[in-house]
Symmetry: C2
């Protein structure tokens, strides 16, 4: 039975098909304010449905690859990125999320450090958007982005996620910038610093941030659990 | 093309099919020691492949139901349970996890309170097993159970999961029993009590456990975040 000739109730009976999508979050300076904000790359649809709308990078699963490998390949093909932090986020499969037959999307997410994000490809069909200004996306991708943002904010509470965006050492001000970018609001520096220093998951190093400043800030190191909460060590 | 007549390379080209499975954890007293231990219900396979082996409850997705609804229906049909705590765990879809064509399983998990678990159906094809003594299961279901146990133990660190197994009020000893059942080892009562009382997520009530004891223990209440970390409020 070809989907082309099927009527609505016949299409409802077709088995769902499967796709892999990725949400890639990176911190980048806002061009207007210079503050770090949260960005993600989107891909322009070059066919129907949703022709010309922006969508999350994604595609079908190839016969011999794992779900994680499919996500990594998709990411590589669309953005030229190979993020260290890539894990399964959620499977979306509501019956109304796409024109039938139903597509179930297994969504992976990547948290990308600034040095990695700088390597991303951009062209007329791949562009970076501020996470809070993506406009109307194809399919239910607005909901997926909203869900990913919600999960990201929840992860802040566990005190591990910020370090996925930072290098192996960082200043306390850099951690605050990550929190501010993810939460979308300014935080009091003194309060934040106090709270962070009482966290068990970071410790001071003997190093200081390089640069031309009179009193360079101290660098810290993350010592907590792997922030990829979902991934079995053998799946990494 | 019927899978029955396809050769290996043809089967590899078939699109993956989709199934929903559920892991249902409940605390039950061990019949030998009386200690609370972690149990899960399994279903006997009554057809090939893996005829007669035990497997996680599950089945296909119906055309008009959401993934979560399919998980709840499967659970209801096999065990007669309707758990309050049911959320998506992970999607398993490696190319070698089942005889081809590939099946991608979206696994939900339920944490069931003792009063709910007592209502579960059991017959010759549905039985409860201690989570650490399930034997050899069909498909990759041993790996899925192992993954679910790993996630469950990780959730203990966040200090929220124990309350999914308990009622709205509980004694500190009951919380320790949950930790002991999930971790599979005894904990020092005095140390545990001290750590727990410094947690921000529980507070004492003015009530005491009913029963015939001389000094009935105080009941506490959980005040932290919803332990379902994965589920968007609108998905609950």
């Amino acid at each position: 039975m070809s989907p082309r000739y099927a009527n609505v109730s016949e299409r409802e009976q077709e088995p769902p098909s499967l796709a892999i999508s990725t949400v890639i979050f990176a911190l980048r300076p806002d061009p207007d304010t210079g503050n770090l904000t949260l960005w993600l790359p989107l891909v322009r649809r070059i066919r129907q449905p949703y022709l010309d709308l922006w969508a999350l990078p994604g595609g079908p699963l190839r016969p011999t690859e794992s779900l994680q490998d499919a996500a990594a390949r998709n990411l590589q093909e669309t953005t030229a990125l190979a993020p260290r932090y890539l894990e399964q986020l959620y499977a979306f499969g509501g019956p109304d999320r796409s024109p039938s037959p139903r597509v179930v999307s297994i969504v992976y997410w990547a948290l990308v450090q600034p040095d990695e994000a700088a390597l991303a490809r951009q062209d007329e069909n791949v562009a970076w958007f501020r996470a809070d200004r993506v406009g109307t996306l194809a399919f239910d991708h607005n909901q997926i982005v909203e869900y990913a943002l919600w999960r990201l904010r929840n992860k802040l509470e566990y005190g591990t996620v910020a370090y996925a965006f930072l290098g192996s050492t960082f200043t306390l001000a850099q951690v605050r910038e990550v929190y501010e970018a993810v939460l979308g609001r300014a935080l009091d520096p003194a309060n934040f610093r106090r709270q962070l220093q009482s966290s068990v998951h970071i410790e001071p190093t003997d190093e200081y941030l390089q640069g031309g400043r009179h009193r360079p800030p101290r660098l810290y190191r993350y010592t907590g659990p792997d922030p990829r909460e979902n991934s079995f060590p053998s799946q990494r």
